[in-house]
Amino acid sequence: MSRLVVGPFNRVEGDLEIKLDVADGAVTAAYVNSPLYRGFEQILPGKAPADALVYAPRICGICSVSQSLAAANALALAQGLTPPENGAHLQNLILAAETVADHLTHFYMFFMPDFAQGVYAGEPWHEQAARFRAMGGPAQREFIPARAAFLHIMGLVAGHWPHTLSLQPGGAARAIGRPEQARLSGIVTGLRRFLEGTLFGDSLESVAALSNAGALAAWAGTEAPRQSDSGRFLAFSEALGLEALGHGPDLFLSYGAYAQSGVPAFARGVYRAGTVSALDASAIAEDHASSWLIRAGGPREPSRGLTVPDADAPDAYSWCKAPRLGGAVAETGALARQLVDGHPLVRDLAASGRANARSRVIARLIEVARLVPLMERWIWEMRPGEPFCLHAAMPDEARAEGLVEAARGSLGHWLEIRKGRIFNYQIVAPTTWNFSPRDGAGQPGACEQALVGAAVRKGETSPIAVQHIVRSFDPCMVCTVH
């Protein structure tokens, strides 16, 4: 057996190091380390509660809106506020814009460039993959102007991205009228053209309607989709057998997303082996057993969570805690969201091939095809002249949580206010779930499990299979530890 230390990983958000035990050309154990600690949970106590709206988005430059919204939701619960319909629509629209932009950024900037790496120079499809070259290949040069134009949504209704302050507990701070609705509509249409012309080679509705693995295969064989960027992804991943890589814990978590009048557009729940069950958020606890943190006497619920660094903690190998759901390891993200919500294609892929590197990417593409038409609808469901933001006093004492779905999965903020100030603030981010270290029971985290069995080719120091698996989760390491 030998030991490999892989890192830094480029094209993931933030810092990541993974130690691999390797035997007979395959990974036998993986240890995921988040090597950066910034201490937001130590910064927030003592601040005015509403100051969380300034600090929380700055946890993460790529999931900034979801961090804002989790903070706003926690404050809203503390204040007894429910955003009016317009405010909820605008919050949903801003979050969806971030999620769509992030999914596409993952596809074009982070994931696809791996197929253009030199290790695949001998493959018959490698010439096609050159389109996806990192640092300014043709696909990236087409994508980034489309992304930038799409993010004009943020300029219009959120000031800028990242790090907006427009998401408020009572709604959104930028009321809009018909002219802004028309402009938003035009911006989203611009992205629709890019998606249908370049990414899918088909209408978003046709992509969202794909209902099983057979339908996907047939679709990928037709002319325009085959020539599209998602068609190319399907071809490369079939040639490489990506569906055999990266099986996770097969327990999936979603807090539910894009609620209007209390009903989420993507359902909340827990999915395992074809069955959705209700999520009991009180079953979430964070374990410190492998973390460079003061040990808190066993796993703690985030509402009474403790985050105090201890660089000399025994048996530790990451700044990341290990969140568990009723003691079990769960995976979160677009795949989990679409499984819980019951998208038929994503369900079919999971039934036949478990969670894997390919199905995680497909779930993101399906989510993009579903979200953009929803955004188009929400824009016109807003009613000019009716309120966008409600207000209420901040209580001196409160406990509240804000649970949202970020692009990368389930994000929770747990807030306690005492004497009018933040007393405790704990954050459990999506990649905290996916890239957690081992817990006190010795259970490896989701990515640690997914890496076992990955092939290590002769002479590889950063095995390409490991890179595909890691990037299939779209990890956000700055959120992970924060």
Binding site: L16, P35, L36, Y37, G61, I144, G155, P387
Partner: protein
């Protein structure tokens, strides 16, 4: 004096991410006219490595850093994003570079000594920023500042090989064009020490106040204030806006097409200023003494501000008084009554 057709030298660039959120890179990726890759082409910049954008990582990056340190690989521009974490107790262990067992603080310092120009990307890298907030448990600092005080990781006297101090492109996040313009001015040889302000920031964006071009200027003139987030009035009197003191061309140079904080419905929180990240009153409230905001507009004597504000309040048109506390315009401007000259 007119310039000749500009000549640009090719330049190499290394980008390191230290203790930050990565948001400045995400903002930069939104650059428009030119987009990021076109901007790099224009400035003839070859990127040696960027954590979010480059193909290889791992051992390849370690080799690159060794060759730069040994001066085998020339480095023209070092960009550092995020604060430098020196803790716990000066060990740098809050941020060990993956795969290296070396504190990022040490790597940043070594690369800074090798680089012709050093750029701090964002307020964290410049001054410590949000990462240094409250008790600064991570011992975070900027490259050449610690909050408002010169010093930081490299020391107040630091000059890069070009003779320039660290160029502080402050902001949380940076505006993409602040970065692309700085890079292009460097490639043209047109950014000298006289082009930086006393906090090391390029003057081209800090010789403005955020107040300049504020879409709420009429509410400001007549002191017609918003009372809650989401209302149209001036945000200075009640909601903590410090746009009249903070440096930046945010309302002249739009963000993401047509945005700015104030256009998004919320106050300027002074994210380009040294010391941003910590303040002794809540961000969304204006501290006052005797009803007068403690933070007065830049260069404004207090007595004059009080006198003008009292006069302006007395003269506030009913239209502005109403609209200031509404989410959308309830009364449109009427016809002016001033007489035209014959």
């Amino acid at each position: 004096m007119p310039l000749d057709m500009p000549v640009r030298e090719t330049q190499t660039l290394l980008w390191l991410q230290s203790g930050g959120c990565g948001g400045c890179t995400m903002s930069l990726l939104g650059a428009e006219a030119p987009d990021l890759f076109s901007a790099l082409d224009l400035a003839r910049i070859g990127v040696l490595s960027h954590p979010s954008l480059s193909a290889p990582g791992g051992a390849g990056l370690g080799d690159l850093l060794c060759r730069i340190q040994a001066r085998e690989q020339p480095l023209d521009i070092l960009c550092v994003e995020g604060a430098v974490l020196r803790g716990p107790r000066g060990s740098g262990r809050f941020h060990i570079m993956a795969g290296s067992e070396t504190p990022m603080a040490r790597i940043v310092a070594e690369m800074a000594r090798a680089a012709r120009h050093v750029i701090a990307i964002g307020s964290c890298a410049a001054y410590g920023g949000i990462t240094a907030a409250r008790d600064n448990v991570t011992e975070a600092c900027g490259l050449a500042f610690e909050g408002r005080e010169p010093g930081g990781l490299l020391g107040a006297g630091f000059r890069s090989r070009s003779g320039l101090p660290v160029i502080n492109i402050a902001g949380c996040p940076v505006h993409p064009a602040w970065v692309t313009e700085t890079l292009d001015l460097l490639s043209l040889g047109q950014l000298g020490v006289q082009d930086l302000d006393e906090s090391g920031r390029p003057r081209f964006f800090t010789e403005h106040l955020v107040h300049h071009g504020c879409p709420r200027n009429e509410y400001y003139e007549y002191k017609a204030a918003a009372h809650e987030p989401g209302q149209l009035g001036c945000l200075m009197e009640n909601l903590g806006c410090i746009g009249t003191q903070a440096h930046g061309d945010c309302n002249i140079r739009p963000w993401n097409g047509e945005g700015s904080c104030i256009r998004g419905g919320y106050p300027c929180i002074g994210c380009t200023e040294p010391g941003f990240g910590e303040r002794d009153y809540p961000y969304l409230e204006t501290p006052k003494r005797g009803g007068i905001p403690l933070g007065l507009p830049a260069d404004m004597p207090k007595a004059w501000f009080v006198a003008l504000a009292a006069l302006a309040k007395a003269a506030t048109p009913e239209r502005l008084r109403r609209n200031a506390q509404a989410e959308t315009i309830s009364r449109a401007p009427g016809a002016g009554s001033g007489k035209q000259k014959k």
